[in-house]
């Protein structure tokens, strides 16, 4: 009776690869999302994901359909969007959310135009929304590598990031590590989004980054628990989402994100920390 829960992964290597890679990536992307949310920077993921497109398009134009080239192109463009937004903010005082909101339609439009120039041979929908079919052994390796790298780097980054977003003036007055930690952290965000675009899609990776993070906020007031819970919810969403996409023949990225979305809605409703249905019992202390 429980066979449908694991049978597709036993039967097809590509499903297995998508599962392993996706779960690994979800477990690194979701904690990054928790930290992004703490910094009130949830939107930057969205902007970077759109920003990846022109980079991937240029790489495709120059090199052709090669995973390392697409990844490098996406990485360069994603870092470029994040860096450009920070630069505009620093030099003009335009708020960071506004400068990001201005940059990502530019990236998306120029990406689509570049793909048009390249002759539409690259599947735009596949790039934005992902396809489990496209996860081969090399992609799986890249996903697991990025996931491990992110988690390993998050350990030393954790404390400076936390302090830098609670009280940046204090950290900047006692140490110079804040901006570096933040830059490295943004680099990890870009890396996670880029490497996930094969299986899950650049745009859908954003959902996998933010939804488990938002959901975890309704379950615990303690940050370590939130990070852990977000990682688990992200991994679970990948597993159930891949099953949904397999059994109903749906695209994998949106299926995964819809499952993550269901977790979020459930958390908003029944979560013990400020969940809607808990409100009568536990007033919000202000």
């Amino acid at each position: 009776m429980l066979a449908p829960l694991w049978q597709p992964f036993m039967e097809f290597a590509f499903m297995r690869q998508a599962l392993f890679g996706g779960v690994a990536l979800a477990m690194s992307a979701a904690p990054l999302g928790v930290l992004l949310m703490l910094r009130r920077m949830s939107l930057i993921g969205d902007a970077i994901a759109h920003g990846i497109l022109p980079g991937a398009a240029v790489a495709f134009w120059l090199v052709g359909l090669s995973l390392p080239a697409l990844t490098l192109g996406g990485l360069g463009a994603g870092l470029g969007v994040a860096g450009l937004a920070a630069w505009v903010t620093r030099n003009t005082g335009l708020r960071e959310d506004a400068s990001l909101a201005a940059l990502y339609p530019i990236s998306l439009a120029s990406g689509v135009l570049l793909l048009g120039l390249a002759g539409r041979r690259l599947d735009l929908l596949g790039l934005l929304f992902g396809s489990a079919l496209s996860v081969d052994a090399a992609t799986l390796q890249a996903m697991v590598l990025v996931a491990v790298l992110s988690v390993v780097l998050l350990v030393p980054l954790y404390r400076p990031l936390l302090l830098d977003c609670l009280d940046p003036l204090f950290l900047r007055s006692v140490s110079r590590v804040g901006p570096w930690a933040y830059g490295l952290f943004l680099g990890l965000v870009v890396l996670n989004l880029v490497v996930g675009f094969q299986a899950i899609g650049a745009l859908m990776m954003v959902g996998l980054m933010t939804l488990p993070a938002a959901a975890s906020r309704f379950w615990s007031r303690r940050l370590p628990w939130r990070l852990l819970l977000a990682a688990l919810l992200g991994g679970l969403a990948v597993w159930l989402g891949l099953l949904l996409s397999y059994h109903l023949a749906l695209p994998s990225g949106p299926a995964i994100v819809v499952v993550a979305g269901a977790f979020y809605v459930l958390s908003v409703l029944v979560g013990p920390v400020h969940g809607v249905l808990q409100r009568s019992r536990q007033p919000i202390p202000l």
Binding site: L38, D167, L169, S173, V174, S220, R221, R226, L286
Partner: protein
Amino acid sequence: MMIHCHALLWGPARQPLTPPLIVHLPAGSFTAVTGANGVGKTSLLKVFAGLQRPLAGTLQVARGPVGYLVQQHAIDRQFPITLGELVAAGFWGQRLARAQKAERLQAALAAWQLDGLAGLSLQAMSGGQLQRALLARMSLTDAPLLLLDEPEANLDAAGQTLLWAHLRAWQAQGRTLLVVCHDAAAVRRHARHCLALAPERAELYEVA
């Protein structure tokens, strides 16, 4: 000499807030910064802390970490951190044994009348508790220069007595203090020097 500035202008671009400031503050001095709202007291502290660039003039601040006390509204109260973790951040960059840290943390909590509250979340703290926690964090830093922006805000009478006693103790340890303060009586009672800022003049005078 802790802070040495000559013809210093600061504030928003092309709009310096006061005439050029010439100030020399020796190490171990206790200086109040006074002036009306919007005259640039907070910005001046940020310039001294190296967080904001001056518009013109020269500024030399002795090397070393700087303790900076922010105004409370800069702190996100939803942040998932406990009072104990917030205070312990004062150990940043210091090499201490774990037991020594725990001991000094307990001492700091006790000194600021926060014992037993280490597990309190940021959200559940009162304004006075948060203020004392921020001050306790500052007490754990080994910064020789302390910049405090309205430290008496949110503190009741007992809390303010505690505050001024600690500020004097820090000065006695040889630390240099700059304190933005609106309470003229407290300035007269506790500070040796007063840096009075106004749009038409900026001067340092000795408190009688």
